[in-house]
Symmetry: C2
Subunit: 278 residues, 2 copies
């Protein structure tokens, strides 16, 4: 069942207008959330990011007759996931409009929610390549989770072609911004380092949780630029996103990081994170 | 009437799947064409660009039971435009896929064609601002007409807020790449200059026609980087795209270009271009 603007419909009856600017121009945003036993993890942080992005783009929420949390709960329920482990995606577009770039004076936005079962799992350590695709850290869109994902798709394709799990995207200055669908953390002498938003990193919800947990664990965290050559010398590295959570990164461009095994701090943060989700 | 994958449907029955990657990830391309008296202007150039982009992205054409030119003709006919003046848009997406960035092993692409009447018109000279949004000339996507148009939408919004018609986007090096929905030409001492594809310009079909016509008219053309400060000193400037054709640009950031009037070469090229469309 798919939720569209207040209605819950069977997949094959759910329909998006061919005039939707989300489709025609990528004019919209999305969020992907993890659901544990029916509870949406860090719902507030996801909604905050979505609404901040919508505010920046000038896209209002549609009138759905209910709030977004209610819409999400109804979608989970309609898919038999009211108590399930799942992934949940919200897509918000500016809706239909006349030809051209200029938004219509009155937006009639489209809000779409989909849910699918996703079991808890421990992922084997990841390998990555450095992509030839550069992320445009000079655009404000770099810090928003927009529908413009083709650069990331191309980067991921390069990873697949190289037999790697993920691709790191450098920004136009040559510093690492993030992976195609994850933020990056590296450990140097007990200090956690992650690219800053200014480097073109998406303000990931899991990234923020990790920074919070590190503080509680008395692990220093710095947001600072990182080039691949520095990453190769890291003691440990890991990737984060809402679905894979904390994912040890043990090889980049064929070079081992941390002896090719998940490091101590990675395992510590991962364990504490998993505790948060119970 | 809207054409989707071989079928011509009334607007309100045309339906895009909420799982379409064009919508969810901007995973697709488009072309906008101008139709004069039922003839699609430079159809071959548009199809060539679309197919080159599709090839690069690895998106096949769907099996429609007919060729793309036939599909376009049928769409015009279905909208009473078989002999009309119109704009025509083709959108090609990778179609539906499972969650995640990796394309499905077997794409089932979506091809969408829409047409609307568009009368021949002469547009009054344009004004533009320099946008704060930078175009990422370091991505191969800069030279493809993809569905990832949010940077351009933001640039156009800045233009509207400043009361200007268009916005010029600089690339990450600070050179002008193009306008939000048009290519840029400037005239210096009788020489036409336009940003190169390496500067982040889209290989516009009208841009190519203008370069061709200039050659026939013995007007030298160079593809070379241009910063705003240089543009302010141009003798003339104009914008090009398939719908507005040749559009005199007489003011940028509040500074007059060419005395605030369409220049001699602009008018000459415009006249010859209009001759081509008859």
């Amino acid at each position: 069942m798919i939720y569209i603007n207040g209605e819950l419909l069977p997949d094959d009856q759910a329909c998006i207008s061919p005039a939707d600017r989300g489709l025609l121009l990528g004019d919209g945003l999305f969020e992907t959330m993890r659901v544990y036993g029916g509870d949406i993890f860090r719902l507030d942080a996801h909604l905050e990011r979505l609404l901040a992005g919508a505010d920046f783009l000038g896209i209002p929420l549609p009138d759905m007759g209910e709030g977004l949390p209610q819409a999400l709960a109804r979608t989970l329920e309609g898919n038999g996931l009211a108590r399930g482990d799942a992934s949940l995606r919200v897509t918000l577009t500016r809706g239909s409009g006349p030809r051209g770039l200029a938004p219509p004076p009155q937006s009639r936005p489209t809000l779409l929610v989909t849910a699918s079962p996703l079991a808890r799992a421990a992922y084997p350590p990841a390998t990555a390549i450095t992509s030839s695709i550069r992320r445009n850290e000079q655009s404000p869109l770099a810090n928003l989770k927009t529908l413009n994902f083709l650069d990331n798709i191309l980067a991921r394709r390069e990873a697949a072609e190289a037999g790697a799990d993920e691709a790191l995207l450098l920004n136009t200055a040559g510093d690492i911004a993030e992976a195609s669908a994850a933020n990056l953390f590296a450990v140097f002498d007990g200090v956690l380092q992650t690219p800053s938003l200014g480097d073109g990193a998406l303000p990931g919800v899991t990234r923020a949780v990790v920074m919070e947990l590190a503080q509680e664990l008395d692990i220093p965290v710095v947001e600072a630029s990182l080039i691949p050559e520095q990453l190769f010398g890291a003691d440990e590295a890991f990737l984060t996103n809402s679905l894979v959570e904390i994912w040890a990164l043990v090889e980049v461009d064929g070079r081992e990081i941390g002896g090719g095994k998940a490091g101590e701090i990675t395992r510590l943060v991962c364990g504490v994170y998993k505790g948060e989700t119970r």
